[in-house]
């Protein structure tokens, strides 16, 4: 039988049941302020890196909770670690700590 060659669409739904939230649980242990983020976007608005790249810290913060690891791994390396996000965060999330912990988690785990 010859193939139809229909291009299936990739489902963009966040598949929460099957996502791996190990990063979130790790951060809850080592940097519990991660839980306080209300996704207000103040960090994103001020982010130095965000001017020249796709880095969007509020989306990173949410993606941590949703277990969207691939997105985080792809984006987080664009952070220039300037620390401005931490100054503006109304919830006092230790964003710098969160970012550094993400990096070390990703280095030590295999994606």
């Amino acid at each position: 039988m010859k193939s139809f060659q229909y291009l299936k669409k990739i489902d963009r739904t966040i598949d929460y049941d099957n996502n791996d939230r190990a990063l979130f649980y790790y951060l809850m242990r080592v940097e519990p302020t991660v839980a306080l983020c209300i996704a207000c976007g103040a960090c994103t608005a001020t982010c130095s890196a965000g001017n020249f790249s796709t880095l969007d810290l509020h989306k990173i913060m949410l993606s941590i909770r949703r277990g969207e690891k691939v997105y985080i791994a792809k984006e987080i390396t664009q952070c220039v670690l300037c620390g401005k996000c931490q100054l503006v965060c109304p919830k006092n999330v230790n964003t710098r700590g969160v970012i550094l912990q993400i990096m070390s988690f990703l280095q030590s785990s295999q994606l």
Partner: protein
């Protein structure tokens, strides 16, 4: 029977107002259609935002009820009419009460969740309302799914029956956001291995200590908040609930399986409130509750001279707001009765 004021509704608004009016020297008759006093608060367990026992409020109100206050329990009003400056109230016991003034404190009903068909209330086994969960807490019932298991993932759906043009309830019910936060924390306390999620459109943490409770729910209890209105719930083959929601802050649809879904039902005017609007020709406001003559200056007055309103009969309110409103109604009636006597 003749009296100065009939208070209709023995919830916290009616109880507080009856006691205060009596203490100011007026003759009061309190009518309650159920055989118990306290209204909805008598059904609740621990209260937001400070974990107080709801029963302590009811006990306080009952303890302070004057000895000789006339309370008619299990009494339904069959008719009410106004002639000259008096009201004539007929009851299911064929009494007729003549009164100079009426305080409507007939409160609210929780929204009938069947009307939001897409959430499957009354169809899916593991979809319940916040009021039902509260009663489970109150009666110390184990939190179990229909299949008899401890739920490991529980979702709270905000704004069920509120802020919804489709069902013609445009208003916010005010207490359900913080009730969801409170109940999510309680679930985490009772079932430490569970995950809890709140699906909200906006989080309305307007009151004193509400925001703090919300922070605590996240930091201490790991409650997850997802901004998006649930569009659909469906049942899986093993009786769980799959929900569809947009994670609007990430801009992507999200799908997850729940063991139990709690619908945060809002407030609608109680059947008694609607009945009195009808019988007394009271004006109603946008939410179909009783309209105040002026929301700032005459909050407890209605369009009918001699008829006053207190508590959630005029709009959704928390307990503290209900008390403040009942006390202000007392002042309004006191003024009305004293000016009549002179």
């Amino acid at each position: 029977m003749k009296t100065d004021v009939v208070v209709i509704g023995g919830g916290i608004a009616g109880l507080e107002a009856s006691t205060a009016l009596h203490n100011l020297g007026h003759h009061v008759i309190l009518i309650e259609k159920k055989d118990i006093l306290g209204g909805h608060v008598a059904l609740w367990d621990k209260l937001f935002p400070n974990n107080k026992n709801a029963s302590s409020i009811i006990h306080y109100l009952k303890d302070h009820l004057p000895q000789n206050l006339t309370i008619l329990l299990s009494t339904e009003i069959t008719n009410i009419s106004k002639r000259n400056n008096s009201f004539f109230i007929e009851t299911n016991f064929h009494q007729t009460i003549e009164t100079k003034s009426v305080l409507v404190a007939t409160g609210y009903d929780v929204f009938n969740a069947h009307l939001k068909e897409e959430y499957g209330y009354g169809i899916y086994d593991n979809v319940i309302t916040s009021a039902e969960l509260e009663e489970m807490f109150k009666n110390n019932k184990p939190i179990l799914t229909k299949q008899g298991k401890e739920p490991s993932r529980i979702g709270f759906v905000h704004c069920v029956g509120s802020r919804d043009r489709k069902i013609n309830n445009l208003y916010c019910s005010k207490v359900c956001c913080v009730t969801a936060v409170k109940q999510a924390i309680e679930i985490r306390q009772k079932l430490p291995f569970s995950e809890t999620y709140c699906f909200y459109m906006d989080l309305r943490m307007y009151g004193l200590n509400f925001e703090e409770l919300y922070n605590e729910s996240q930091e201490k209890y790991g409650v997850t908040f997802i901004r998006g209105r649930l569009s659909e719930a469906s049942e899986t083959i093993d009786g769980k609930i799959i929900i569809k929601v947009e994670d609007t802050l990430l801009g992507r649809p999200l799908k997850m399986t729940m063991d139990m879904l709690v619908l945060m039902v809002g407030m609608v005017p109680s059947a008694g409130t609607s009945f009195l609007i009808n019988k007394l020709d009271l004006l109603s406001n946008n939410g179909h509750f009783i309209a105040s003559s002026d929301e700032h200056l005459l909050a407890n007055y209605t369009n009918v001279n001699g008829v006053f309103v207190a508590g959630t009969a005029s709009s959704p309110k928390s307990i503290d707001d209900t008390f403040a409103d009942a006390r202000s109604a007392v002042l309004a009636i006191h003024q009305y009765l004293t000016s009549q006597k002179m």
